[in-house]
């Protein structure tokens, strides 16, 4: 398999939600949850979307997996345009190669299904292989994610498992058909500290083993740094900065990224952080004005920032930022 093959590529992806009052009225206002986002993920690579709640990172992930119909733009998966999946064969092909891991392991597993039902469901839906083969595959993946011995768990219900075990089952379910692209939406934020590290390590191992491409959504920059090859920071539906993860952490350019990094508490009592300079709180991107969305809170706001929206520009090797501070260069 060529290792620099682009698995997932999106161009100018938009997702607007209409703010409707009832079925009969037409929407006058739109929430621009995802606004002209571009990125590509190569085989075996992990891209992390980072941002505060309401920045559109989860919507981006769900739109990629066709849980939402994109409002505009293109989604290209393994060289095929999958923006609008029309016929059954395309749908089957796409859904058997993409998967998602959810945030809350208490909610993402149907409480009325057994572990076997849950893990084998993707194969049942796709009518994949024979029943016997499916059983073997379920056993194999459960063992791989550390649910062992697997047959002691097959016929249990999710409520009989601990939080960490449940998230392992959710991972097993997502990976049982060996997908090529996985969206993980804050998969460790609900887990306890000691379990969180176990699950993060497990995912890293599996990504390498199966050579999958990952979109890792998180609010925690430290987790993103550990998990991802590249990090993209989102703010109110726009991508404000994009770089290799070490580069982004050590050399942040956008004022928002800087604020985000300086706000992360440091586990070292002797280290004194610079305090965050930005003011106010995060709003909602409803019918946003054509200007930088960070304008109201930015300590470096200039006149031009209120007049038009900055585009992502390349400022270094694989380092892009959407800010007028860097445009003159």
């Amino acid at each position: 398999m060529p290792n620099n093959e682009v698995v997932m590529k999106i161009e100018n992806l938009d997702k607007f939600f209409p703010m409707k009052k009832s079925v009969f009225s037409r929407a006058k206002h739109f929430l621009h949850a995802v606004d002209k986002i571009n990125f590509e993920i190569k085989r075996g690579k992990v891209l992390s979307l980072v941002g505060e709640s309401g920045c559109g990172k989860t919507t981006t992930g769900k739109t990629l997996l066709k849980l939402y119909e994109p409002t505009g733009g293109k989604i290209n998966f393994l060289g095929r345009d999958v923006t609008h999946l029309m016929n059954a064969d395309d749908k089957k092909w796409f859904h058997s190669k993409t998967q998602m891991i959810f945030q809350d392991p208490f909610e993402s597993l149907n409480p009325r299904k057994t572990i076997f039902d849950i893990v084998s469901e993707p194969m049942n839906i796709q009518n994949f292989e024979t029943l016997k083969k499916r059983e073997l595959m379920v056993m194999e993946i459960l063992k791989r994610v550390g649910i062992s011995p697997p047959d002691a768990f097959l016929w249990r219900y999710p409520h009989e498992l601990s939080g960490g075990q449940r998230q392992r089952v959710a991972i097993a379910r997502a990976l049982v058909m060996k997908p090529e692209f996985v969206v993980a939406d804050e998969p460790t934020s609900m887990l306890d500290v000691s379990i969180r590290t176990q699950v993060m390590k497990l995912m890293m191992e599996l990504i390498r083993e199966m050579n999958m491409s990952f979109l890792y959504i998180t609010h925690d920059l430290a987790v993103a740094r550990y998990m991802a090859d590249e990090i993209s920071v989102m703010y109110l539906g726009r991508m404000v900065e994009y770089a290799n993860s070490e580069e982004l952490i050590n050399n942040p350019l956008h004022p928002y990224t800087k604020a985000l990094i300086s706000a992360v508490p440091v586990p070292d009592p002797e280290f004194k952080r610079k305090s965050v300079e930005i003011k106010g709180g995060i709003g909602k991107p409803i019918d946003p004005l054509p200007r930088c969305r960070f304008y109201d809170r930015c300590p470096f706001a200039m006149e031009i920032c209120s007049q038009k929206e900055p585009e992502l520009i390349e400022v270094g090797e694989n380092h892009k930022v959407a800010c007028f501070l860097y445009e003159q260069r």
């Binding site: 079925v23 769900k62 997996l65 849980l67 749908k91 089957k92 796409f94 859904h95 058997s96 993409t98 998967q99 998602m100 959810f102 945030q103 809350d104 909610e107 993402s108 597993l109 149907n110 409480p111 009325r112 057994t114 076997f116 469901e121 993707p122 839906i125 796709q126 016997k132 059983e135 056993m139 011995p149 047959d151 002691a152 097959l154 016929w155 959710a170 379910r173």
Partner: protein, 329 residues
């Protein structure tokens, strides 16, 4: 954990042989667990006992008595006496309880106890058939409306509003004037009407809660169709609530039947409501007569109250199984 490791080797084969029998075992276990909760509810158990007593009386005692004591009862050698329909010439009817007629006879010379027992299985049939129809329709429409939302949802909810505001009893009075309403037709009408009414609203709101849970999205990511999700994920999760409402609907159906029979609007041979109707039209439930001829209305009236109450009590007991919050610690 120690014994889990020991069983790994041998139980792999056992599992692969019959997942079906494991499913049965799981169902049985779930039933036992729920029974444990239900059996702790006093009110539910009282209801269950009453229902069992009526069921035994109607389905076992009556056929035996009809075959033995009441079969060969002849007043003279010429006329054989049918206790449900026949006239006992040996008494001044209505006659108070005696050894020949344990609960006396009605104005038409029929044995009250025999009428009571004869009606019991029919009351059960009516209540359960009506409730089943209600629940099947309510569950289907409720989940479909919840899942698809939009115009389908609006249509069925407005329909439910109309049915709810519908003058139920007057409608049945009109219907019974237009056609011969027997017990099965009545069950059908009641079932249809309440199926499109209040129960859909309740099950729809439950369906909306289930729909928003991540395991639904998890199934969609795997390519599940709408029908698959409704059948495999939403319905199993609203089932407990449906079952609960079924119990309450049995009560409603039996009650409606009693009311309609009392007005003499149904084309049925015998029912508890009809027994009161007979006594009433013959003028025995007026003024001081009420207590002089108590056996004409008290046994059937008490039966209606008891059986309706019993199903309601079972519903209350099931409520504790379905809603863990109601459980006592």
């Amino acid at each position: 954990m120690a014994d889990n490791t020991n069983m790994t080797v041998k139980s792999v084969e056992v599992k692969l042989e019959s997942p079906f029998s494991i499913k049965v075992r799981l169902l049985w276990r779930a039933f036992k667990e729920n029974w444990n909760i239900f059996s702790k509810s006093k009110i539910g158990m009282i209801g269950l006992y009453i229902v069992i007593i009526f069921a035994v009386a109607g389905f076992i005692v009556y056929p035996i008595l009809a075959d033995t004591v009441w079969k060969t009862t002849s007043l003279n050698a010429m006329v054989s006496y049918n206790p449900v329909t026949g006239y006992d010439f040996l008494q001044n009817n209505p006659a108070p309880p005696s050894w020949a007629h344990l609960l006396g006879t009605d104005p038409l010379g029929r044995d009250v106890l025999a009428q009571l027992l004869y009606s019991t299985p029919r009351e059960f049939m009516l209540g359960i058939v009506a409730a089943l129809i209600t629940v099947v329709i309510g569950t289907l429409i409720g989940t479909v409306a919840a899942y698809f939302g939009g115009a389908i949802d609006t249509f069925f909810m407005r329909l439910a509003d109309i049915v709810l505001l519908f003058p139920f009893i007057p409608f049945l009075i009109v219907i019974s004037g237009m056609m011969q309403v027997d017990l099965l037709t009545l069950a059908l009408i009641i079932g249809l009407l309440s199926g499109f009414g209040g129960i859909t609203i309740v099950l729809r709101s439950q369906g909306l809660i289930i729909k928003s849970r991540p395991f639904i999205e998890s199934a969609k990511v795997s390519g599940a169709s709408d029908a698959y999700i409704i059948v495999n994920h939403i319905i199993p999760n609203v089932m407990p609530l449906s079952f609960l409402y079924m119990m309450f609907n049995v009560t409603g159906a039996i009650f409606s039947e009693a009311v309609l029979s009392f007005f003499g609007l149904l084309n049925i041979k015998m029912s508890w409501g009809l027994m009161i109707y007979t006594a009433d039209t013959a003028g025995y439930i007026i003024g001081s007569n009420i207590w002089n001829y108590w056996w004409l209305w008290l046994p059937s009236g008490a039966s209606i109250t008891l059986l309706c109450g019993a199903f309601y009590f079972i519903g209350r007991g099931l409520d504790e199984v379905v809603n863990p919050r109601l459980r006592k610690r």
